[in-house]
Amino acid sequence: MLQSALVEKVGKFRSRGVIVDVTALDVLDSFASRTLRDIAHIIRLRGAETVIVGVQPEVAFAMVQLGITLEKVSTALDLEEGLAYLDQKLQHARATP
């Protein structure tokens, strides 16, 4: 649901970047993590960048203990950091065409 709606919007708004904020989540199990990873990969195929932001410290450690590391997916501390990261990344991409 979320996945397809999001991917559709990326095309509709010609988005260059997507931020997924998980601050409110107290638990991220393997299913949720896989969904996040899939979203990131699909969005990359659509030509945009994804950043996961707001992973709580406890959640982060619980995830790595389950062996979930969200490899090749960008992460940032919070929304602000995520925006800064995308700004930098997209500017860089524009500067070196």
Partner: protein
């Protein structure tokens, strides 16, 4: 001289089956009466015995006497009521006061046992003419006295353990400082042995530190770690990954040759870890990642300062 109480007691003992609760209660009441009557001399005798035994050397005679008085009264009260809560509270209180002054466990147990002896002796003296009554009195007295000694000793040891736990907590807090050296750059120097418990705590503090300081780069320096087993190494890898989930890059520095060899031998996957030889290199790398550049100023302050003095 026989008091009316004693006559009553004797008849009670003869009619009631031995060790019945009613008889015990009556005996204890008799006992408490006796201890109240001879409070002054028994207390003095006890204080004298304490001084003689050369325990509680950390305290002055006046202090010992003051404490002895309260202990004595609490002791008698516990015998009388058969409840130990008040005594427990008092002994915890007492322990709190005397532990910082270096009073040892054997001293505390020693003085309580001394009091037990002093009181038992006075009972012997009082009832020596009637062996059977003495026996019954002791039957009632001893279990209660033992329980009192137990309560005081346990209270003291518990207090000690509480202090030890607090100190351990403090050491643990101090042993894993998370330091900010530049905006968005944290350093975590690890020194000493890492056991699983400490490793877990370390990770927790680091992740919290990353959040609190909004860190982008973290340098974990393990120069001070002599050895590392696979468990701890895996934990380190997990810490690095968890930090990345919070958006921070981790640089590990100061891996000793021994640890590096061990890690390769036990097959820990360090491919995901960013390692630099020493702390200085780690900080330089972190500065590079953050976009800082350290440039020497034209006139070094240290050298010009020395020139000024000469």
């Amino acid at each position: 001289m026989t008091t009316p109480w004693e006559t009553q007691l004797k008849s009670l003992i003869q009619t009631e089956p031995a060790r019945s609760p009613a008889a015990t209660t009556a005996l204890l009441r008799e006992l408490v009466e006796h201890l109240r009557q001879h409070r002054t001399e028994l207390r003095e005798e006890w204080a004298r015995r304490i001084t003689e035994a050369k325990v509680l050397t950390a305290m002055s005679d006046a202090e010992i006497f003051a404490e002895a008085t309260s202990v004595y009264d609490n002791y008698v009260a516990a015998l009388e009521t058969g409840t130990f809560e008040a005594l427990q509270t008092y002994s915890r209180n007492l322990s709190e006061r005397i532990i910082p002054r270096g009073v040892e466990t054997h001293e505390v147990i020693g003085i309580v046992l001394l009091l037990r002896d002093v009181l038992a002796r006075s009972l012997f003296a009082k009832y020596q003419s009637d062996f059977q009554l003495l026996n019954r009195i002791l039957d009632a007295y001893e279990p209660a006295a033992n329980r009192i000694a137990n309560t005081v000793a346990v209270g003291f040891v518990q207090e000690r353990e509480r202090i030890i736990r607090e100190q351990q907590e403090a050491i643990r807090e101090l042993s894993t400082p998370v330091l900010q050296v530049r905006e968005r750059l944290l350093i975590l120097p690890i020194i000493g042995v890492i056991d699983p418990q400490r490793a877990r705590q370390l990770t927790e503090q680091l992740l919290r530190g990353i959040r609190a300081n909004r860190a982008r780069v973290v340098v974990i320096d393990i120069t001070g770690v002599a050895a590392m087993d696979s468990h701890v190494a895996n934990h380190l890898v997990q810490t690095v990954e968890a930090s990345r989930l919070l958006g921070a890059t981790v640089i590990v520095t100061g891996l000793s040759p021994e640890i590096a060899q061990t890690l390769v031998k036990i097959g820990v996957d360090l491919g995901k870890m960013n390692t630099v030889g020493d702390l200085q290199g780690g900080i330089e790398e972190a500065e590079r990642l953050l976009g800082y550049k350290v440039v020497p100023s034209e006139a070094p302050a240290l050298i010009s300062g020395i020139r000024d003095e000469t």
